[in-house]
Amino acid sequence: MADTLQNPNPNNISAYYQTRAAHHGVVTSDWLAQAQAAVGRHPDDVLPPEPEVKVAGKPFSVIHEFNNWRNQPDLAEAVAAIRALAAVIRNSEATTMMELEIELKKASDSLKSWDTTSISLTAGCDLFMRYVTRTSALEYEDFNSAKSRLIERAEKFGEISYKARRIIAMLSQDFIFDGCTILVHGFSRVVLEVLKTAAQNKKLFRVFCTEGRPDRTGLRLSNELAKLDVPVKLLIDSAVAYSMDEVDMVFVGADGVVESGGIINMMGTYQIALVAHSMDKPVYVAAESYKFARLYPLDQKDMAPALRPIDFGVPIPSKVEVETSARDYTPPQYLTLLFTDLGVLTPSVVSDELIQLYL
């Protein structure tokens, strides 16, 4: 296994969205084969998550570790990264704090460069670094105790991130009332957790799912919800405004939460937020706190591009251009509340949190 796994990124395709698509499992077999060939191994392989400590050469590869974690569909990528970085500290052979920090930084950089388009990955790594190294434990004279303190914090951060979903699900229960209609866009595991918890609490509600082309997230989500006996209705993406009258609230996840309080999410979120805002429907975002990124897009084109090939099912003439961006930016004025593991926040608080953490 190569030390640094080359990002299987021909044509600038976002690996993040490939992964997500893989997790969705509702992909054409052709595409999957293509992805597998690019990645170089079968995605069903689940490697045992044990650190391999070798004597010669680079004993421990953070990417390796990361991939171990990443293969569990339920685990968010950023959490996998955080766990990988925690493992880095554990397995580090450094003897001084500086050395350890440098090692961490290198590992974090390599993780980030693995997929530059994934905001939550970058954000998660950055936040981990800040959270862990911000402790006064670094002033301990005994290196080992400092290191163990760091490991403690890293594990804690990993735990928080892992449990974030459950916390968010608990917080959002108050907002789902009996008889409400929820519009959901994209397949966010956090939102799914929210709806699952609501269903388990015997709340009566129904869900409108957008189809979510080209990933067909709506199909997957409706599958899951049908298993929970929640009434689901599928809409094509263009039918959102048509159905917005009946909707009580909009629930979306986020790929990243930016400093202005806006979110970056699957393509189509901005549209839905605009329609909801003009019809005075609240838009709720369920996002873990490690997704807070230090970005500040001024408009849609101000972000790093993340492209995603779209399969139309019929051949497209080569002269025709296709907009293949996989995500868009929703400005904060169209969002009502953010459900995070830090609590229920308004969009302007994101910057507050980031400032407190970073500065």
Binding site: E259, P332, S351, I355
Partner: protein, 662 residues
């Protein structure tokens, strides 16, 4: 402001906005009505206005004051005439004061109008004693100065006693007696001090008098709770008279104490009326009290401008042209002023240094010189003495030009550092530490901060962008040059405005470096905005509610950009953030030279307003700053990164808390 106002009886008419000054005061209502009718004439009398900031007298012309003062008729003889006790206490006598046909009313307008011209809204020289017919003497406040005697002719100490005698005017037949009594006393007073009668009292004395009167009023009101009974019409005849002397005595010490404290410059409302005392953060220039006080301490001789716009009377405005030569001539004479500070003050006055950063740096460097040359006087502590010195220098600089918020923050930092000096340091060590603190402040908060801002903001410039900027901000200039150095392809639109035309210098410098520039005036900003992709603006300060306080015209540009959905980026160092909140551009601003807008430089033929400047119904307003609400702002670029405008209080909180000042 509440503290000073204390109580108020009748809502005063305040002319806001543009109106013709020196209108003859509305004719006083005849006093033939029931005695306890309110006396709106008083309220309308411009001469009767007290010092409440809301009650703004029509603008007076100081030059007119001086002329009129010499020629104002001495009202005293006439007053005494009116006050002559009239036997029988019949209505006629009363009416003598109130006599509608009598020259009292007829005379009062001419009396009040010269008085109204004397001293900016000082006490009215003349008013009928009978005008105090009110149930509550508390209502007298502003009308009181007109209370039956000539204030100008009596020294303040004497007026105290006189004034004290007049706390309650009882309506009804008793008035004649009372006023007679009072008048008699007055007369004796005035006759006893015949010399001072002729002399004009200074504004300070008159003010002190008014304050004491008001204080006595309230004190008297406080003491005699049975006042309404007393002051009601059917009161016993002897009682009011008897009570009056006793009340006088009681009120006297209160009045003297009030006056004494007032003379010290502390404006204390009577105990009863005192509300939560909040010192006003900035000097309000419509309050004559403080203006006078400040003037006495002033180093710079300035004459207040004429034709001031009513809405902005709380801001200082002085006649231009006379200050600089005056200060220059005094350069070597002013001992208490350090030459470096003096020099910086002159530069501010002349407009040589402008721009928040430049002014702040110049001031801090001047203070460094001060500290280097400083030596602790014997028997004094360094921290306190130096702080006092810095304070006095700051007042001088304020006189030259009002402080910008960046300067205010820097001064606060300096005073904080001085206060935090450990006592164990020797003088030279302390001085060194202070100088190095100042250097660090300048370096970290301004120079390095600018570098960080430039880096962040340049990342927002893409190839093919059209960037718009307004006026000349040093940070924005740095951003544009840096982005150009990075090789980004963009062009710049510079929007400029009269009268300062600051954009021209920026244009020259950018073109010299090879940038593609377009230059236009602000009246074309909506025309050109459709091709703009980003707007970069500088700021003098950013307030806690996200409002950006910047050069006048910025709000306009930001609003148009918002309408065209163009993102607006404010570039501002974090040391300029302030915890104040401002909702409009009026409550705090700076007034520039009005002549600058009357003339178009270089165009001799455009002088339509020249001869009109002295007309009474033309007022020129040259504002320097305005406030941009946060809805128009997309992002603020600071040395702490790019933040949304809602996060300004977070930065203020986080970094002030940590004594961020290094």
């Amino acid at each position: 402001m509440e503290a000073r106002r204390g109580w108020r009886a009748v809502p005063k008419v305040r002319h806001v906005g543009f109106f013709t000054p020196n209108e003859p005061p509305p004719p006083a209502r005849t006093q033939s009505g029931p005695p306890d009718s309110n006396s709106p004439p008083l309220s309308n009398s411009p001469a009767g206005n007290s010092l409440s900031p809301v009650m703004i007298p029509p603008p007076r012309h100081l030059s007119d004051n001086l002329a009129h003062r010499a020629t104002s008729p001495l009202p005293v003889p006439e007053t005494s005439a009116f006050r002559r006790p009239i036997p029988g206490g019949d209505r006629v006598a009363v009416v003598g004061s109130y006599n509608p046909t009598d020259s009292m009313l007829g005379a009062s307008p001419p009396l009040t109008s010269p008085s109204s011209r004397i001293g900016d809204g000082e006490f009215s020289e003349e008013s009928s004693p009978g005008w105090f017919r009110r149930s509550n003497s508390a209502k007298f406040a502003s009308s009181f100065p007109g209370g039956g005697f000539d204030l100008t002719s009596i020294k303040s100490s004497e007026t105290l006693e006189v004034e004290v005698k007049k706390p309650v005017e009882v309506p009804g037949p008793n008035i004649a007696e009372k006023s007679g009594v009072a008048g008699a006393e007055l007369q004796t007073e005035s006759q006893s001090s015949s010399k001072p009668l002729k002399a004009k009292t200074t504004k300070a004395e008159r003010r002190a008098l008014q304050e004491s009167q008001r204080a006595a009023k309230a004190a008297a009101k406080g003491e005699a709770t049975g006042k309404p009974a007393i002051s009601s019409e059917g009161a016993a005849t002897s009682k009011p008279v008897k009570q009056q002397p006793s009340r006088k005595k009681d009120a006297l010490p209160a009045a003297t104490s009030v006056a004494a404290s007032d003379r010290k410059g502390v404006d204390r409302p009577p105990e009863k009326e005192r509300k939560k005392e909040v010192p006003p953060p900035r000097m309000q220039f419509d309050d004559k009290n403080r203006v006078e006080k400040a003037k006495k301490r002033a180093v710079v001789n300035q004459t207040e401008a004429r034709n001031r716009v009513e809405l902005f009377r709380h801001l200082p405005q002085y006649e231009r042209g006379s200050q600089l030569p005056d200060l220059e001539s005094k350069f070597f004479l002013l001992d208490p002023m350090h030459p470096a500070v003096y020099k910086v003050g002159l530069q501010y006055l002349a407009g040589d240094i402008s721009g928040g950063n430049a002014r702040c740096i110049a001031m801090l460097q001047a203070f460094q010189e001060v500290i280097k040359d400083y030596s602790t006087p014997p028997e004094k502590s360094l921290t306190r003495d130096l702080t006092a010195k810095v304070g006095s220098y700051v007042s001088f600089l304020i006189e030259c030009r009002p402080l910008s918020m960046s300067m205010g923050n820097a001064i606060r930092f300096l005073k904080n550092r001085i206060a935090k000096l450990p006592l164990s340091l020797s003088e030279s060590e302390a001085k060194e530490s202070l100088c190095s603190d100042i250097n660090r402040f300048i370096n970290e908060k301004i120079v390095l901060a600018d570098k960080v801002i430039v880096r962040h903001a340049a990342s927002k410039v893409r190839d093919g962008d059209v960037l718009l900027t307004y006026g000349s901000s040093c940070v924005v200039e740095m951003i544009l040059l840096y982005a150009h150095e990075l090789g980004k392809q963009f062009r710049v639109v510079i929007v400029d405005s009269r009268p300062k035309l600051e954009g021209q210098a920026l244009l020259r410098r950018l073109v010299a470096k090879g940038l593609n520039c377009t230059y236009t005036h602000i009246n074309a900003v909506s025309y050109i905005m459709h091709e703009v992709t980003r707007v970069f603006l500088g700021a003098s300060s950013v307030l806690s509610n996200g409002t950006v306080y910047s050069r006048v015209g910025t709000a306009c540009v930001a609003m148009v950009a918002h309408a065209f959905r163009v993102p607006v980026l404010i570039c501002c160092e974090a040391y300029k953030f302030h915890e104040r909140v401002q909702l409009d551009s009026i409550c705090s601003n700076e007034l520039g030279d009005p002549d600058a807008i009357a003339k178009a430089s270089g165009r001799m033929d455009v002088n339509y307003v020249d001869n009109l400047a002295n007309k009474e119904n033309l007022q020129l307003l040259n504002l320097m700053y305005d406030a941009t609400p946060l809805e128009y702002i997309s992002m603020i670029v600071t040395d702490y990164g790019m933040i949304p405008p809602t996060s300004v209080p977070v930065i203020v909180r986080e970094y002030r808390r940590e004594h961020l000042w290094i």
